[in-house]
């Protein structure tokens, strides 16, 4: 039955003969692990294409949607992190295995006549792999991709003559936006794969024409004697190598839980961008050159490397495949590799040694976790990835505070004019510090209100006064008994000479402390701090009458109240 179906198809397609000719290749000198790299690369290419197609099922190439869709597929879709991780780590694997492939070909002298063209095709494929990496890095539209790619297109912009035009053609316009991402996407998923498939077909066809370059240490007779068929002898070694690489990929993927995803791209922030590891040599190298030299190196280095590789088969024309007789040529490749590896290592060591970078890196990581948690919980507003932060409870209050209040209340000690409002504002500790030293720079030292004498009560009496003031905030953990004792001390002692603590009395020497720090007090105070209940004519803080709507005022007050229980 099965054979009947197979016969039917064979009669119409001739697939058996096709398959046989594909598999019936003789491997001169026998199957070897040295020959596996091309097959492993083909396997990785298929894996990249498969995972890529699946990623496209959830990915949305637009400046407002890209990050959100990647966060969604990575953090919410079943096995999404796994698929994306395979694709991202698979790209790294391709770079590594390409390097090994190039190394094997170089050592075996497989670029030599008559295989020069296939070497050139291979070098072009290597360039394609890097183009894939460059375009793919931007697609998540996260901070790293966004800023690192800015550098790449910026380099293009420094080119002589048509640099500006080249940059605008790459990024599709005068700046990064929707068109940048649609362009990079189209290149990454249509243009580059089409070129890659074409070159792969050509590479394999040329390879089939000229076959493996056999080991140089065996003579003709020995090569013939050891010859084995491609199927299954070489294929078996190939699949073992594929399985080995695949296993490493899977392990790395689980260990890293997929590929990293930074916070959404935000042009308004500073970001310490780093390129993918395989671009590190160039990234590091550029640090050593400035001005016109920087341009020359940035654009020249890839041209030189490419040029050397392309020229190799035409320069090394000697008849021998023995590496010992081709040492100068191999040395050039080895030096190039050593320089790249060295630069990469220095780059990573510099980052590891830089406290600033580590700090920025930690902040970026925090920010990424927060953005992804918010995206998962609430979804991302249509304004774009970075707008996800606006969904955080308390976001608006903090934003208003940072915009309108922080200058005087949270700036550096030397610049600050009003009392400090930071984490712990109006906590017991804060009130205690304030009472002990109201004229400190932290409090009223640089205001017209610098007139109160420090409170000198000791022990429980002092604690009672602190508790009384603390109780005004409406906090839930007030010790009412202690606060009651504070009230007696307040009334009997010198506090009440200047202050009331009843919310009603006006025009005392000092502000009325009633409800001090409670939400309704803050609401009114922010709008009119010069009210006679509080600072009267000594007030220096601008009144914010009509500045905020009710919702904004609520958010701002919530933020201030929330500071009380926030750890410093």
């Amino acid at each position: 039955m099965l054979k009947g179906i197979a016969d039917w198809f064979d009669e119409r397609t001739g697939y058996r003969a096709g398959l046989a000719s594909a598999l019936d290749e003789e491997v001169l000198g026998g199957a070897r692990f040295a020959y596996v790299f091309g097959s492993v690369l083909t396997f990785l290419l298929v894996l990249q294409m498969t995972t890529g197609v699946f990623l496209a099922m959830y990915y949305s190439p637009s400046a407002t949607d890209a990050w959100a869709s990647v966060a969604f597929l990575n953090d919410q879709v079943s096995a999404g992190w796994f698929v994306r991780g395979l694709h991202s780590h698979g790209a790294s694997a391709m770079v590594i295995v390409s390097g090994l492939h190039l190394f094997q070909v170089a050592v075996f002298g497989a670029y030599k006549k008559p295989r020069e063209l296939n070497w050139i095709v291979g070098v072009l494929m290597l360039a394609l792999i890097l183009a894939f990496a460059l375009t793919g890095y931007l697609l998540p539209w996260d901070q790293t991709g966004y800023w690192a790619t800015q550098v790449a297109t910026g380099i293009a912009g420094t080119a002589p003559l048509a640099g500006q035009q080249m940059q605008e053609a790459m990024q599709a316009g005068n700046g990064y936006g929707n068109l940048t991402i649609t362009r990079f996407f189209a290149l990454h998923v249509f243009v580059l794969p089409a070129l890659m498939i074409g070159l792969t077909a050509l590479h394999i066809a040329l390879f089939r024409k000229h076959h493996q370059t056999p080991p140089w240490w065996l003579d003709e007779k020995e090569l013939k004697r050891r010859t084995q068929p491609f199927w299954p002898d070489q294929m078996f070694k190939d699949i073992l190598a594929m399985a080995f690489v695949f296993a490493i990929l899977i392990i790395v993927n689980f260990q890293t839980h997929g590929a990293p995803l930074d916070a959404p791209a935000d042009p308004s922030t500073a970001f310490d961008a780093r390129p993918e590891w395989y671009f590190r040599p160039l990234f590091q190298g550029l640090k050593y050159f400035h001005g016109i030299l920087e341009v020359i190196v940035a654009l020249g280095a890839p041209v030189v490397v490419g040029g050397v590789l392309l020229a190799l088969p035409f320069v090394d024309r000697g008849p021998s495949n023995n590496p010992k007789k081709r040492l100068p040529y191999l040395a050039v490749l080895a030096i190039g590799f050593a320089v790249a590896a060295g630069l990469t290592m220095v780059s990573y060591l510099e980052d590891r040694g830089s406290e600033e970078f580590q700090e920025a890196h930690a902040v970026a990581h925090e920010s990424s976790l927060k953005a992804r948690a918010l995206a998962k919980k609430y979804g991302v507003p249509p304004q774009g990835g970075a707008a996800v932060f606006t969904l955080e409870p308390g976001y608006l209050g903090k934003k208003l505070f940072d915009r309108d209040c922080a200058g005087c209340h949270a700036g550096k000690v030397t610049d600050r004019q009003g009392p400090e409002i930071l984490a712990g504002f109006n906590s017991r500790q804060y009130i205690s510090d304030l009472l002990r030293n109201p004229s400190a720079n932290r409090f009223f030292g640089s205001t017209k209100l610098d007139v109160m004498k420090p409170v000198t009560e000791k022990g429980e009496d002092f604690a009672a006064l602190v508790e009384l003031v603390y109780a005004q905030t409406g906090a839930e953990d007030v010790d009412t008994e202690l606060a009651g004792k504070g009230q007696t001390l307040f009334d009997d002692g010198s506090c009440s000479d200047c202050h009331s603590i009843d919310w009603v009395t006006e025009e005392d020497v000092g502000p009325n402390l009633g409800k001090r720090g409670a939400p309704d007090m803050l609401r009114e105070f922010i709008v009119n701090p010069g009210h006679l209940r509080w600072y009267g004519e000594k007030n220096e803080m601008p009144a914010n009458q009509g500045k905020y709507n009710d919702a904004e005022l609520d958010e701002l007050v919530n933020y201030l109240v929330g500071l009380r229980t926030l750890e410093k």
Partner: protein
């Protein structure tokens, strides 16, 4: 070539092992890919909050008049990765009886999901796609392929405003099952 028999045994093993290893690798890749592909099946990817949505002032709806189509504009609409406000998620046909009772039908046809119109001539609802017809009280008329009447949406009145709770129902079955 040494011993022909051992060579053949070795090659047989290599062929089987190649298929075996390839199969395992394929499975390790395919299983997550299938799960990934099927993720949206049965999961609420597009959702509208089930809180009542303001559609009009009560006074705008005239007792005894022909039904009017009102858009349903929701906040907090989730669509895969997005969360958006002011999104038109659908529309409903609203009318007020002489006794003042307000009813709202979703304009989604219960047959295959086209948008139902009101026919002034016939004084009933008609679906332009397959000619299903529904009476003003939403009941299915004889002609047309729909298997049930129009789906009513829950109406609530609050401070003179009319609100509906937006829902979608499964197509082309006689029972009314929310999606």
């Amino acid at each position: 070539m040494a011993d022909k028999n051992t060579d053949e045994g070795r090659r047989r093993f290599m062929k089987l092992a190649t298929f075996g290893i390839g199969g395992i690798m394929g499975a390790i890749t395919a299983i997550p890919l299938v799960r990934y592909f099927l993720h949206p099946v049965g999961s609420p990817v597009v959702t509208t909050p089930d809180t009542p949505i303001d559609i009009a002032a009560e006074s705008e709806i005239i007792a005894g008049a022909a039904p009017i189509r009102l858009p349903i504009v929701a906040n907090g609409v989730r669509d895969a990765w997005n969360r958006a406000d002011n999104v038109a998620v659908g529309s409903c046909w609203v009318s007020k009886s002489e006794s003042g009772e307000i009813t709202a039908f979703t304009s989604v046809c219960p047959h295959l999901g086209c948008s139902v119109s009101y026919s002034d001539k016939n004084e009933d609802f008609r679906c332009p796609c397959h000619n299903s017809a529904f009476a003003l009280d939403g009941k299915k008329k004889d002609d047309g392929p729909a298997k049930r009447g129009l789906d009513p949406l829950e109406v609530t009145l609050e401070d003179g405003r009319v609100k509906v709770t937006y829902k979608r129902f499964r197509n082309d079955i006689s029972a009314r099952e929310p999606v």
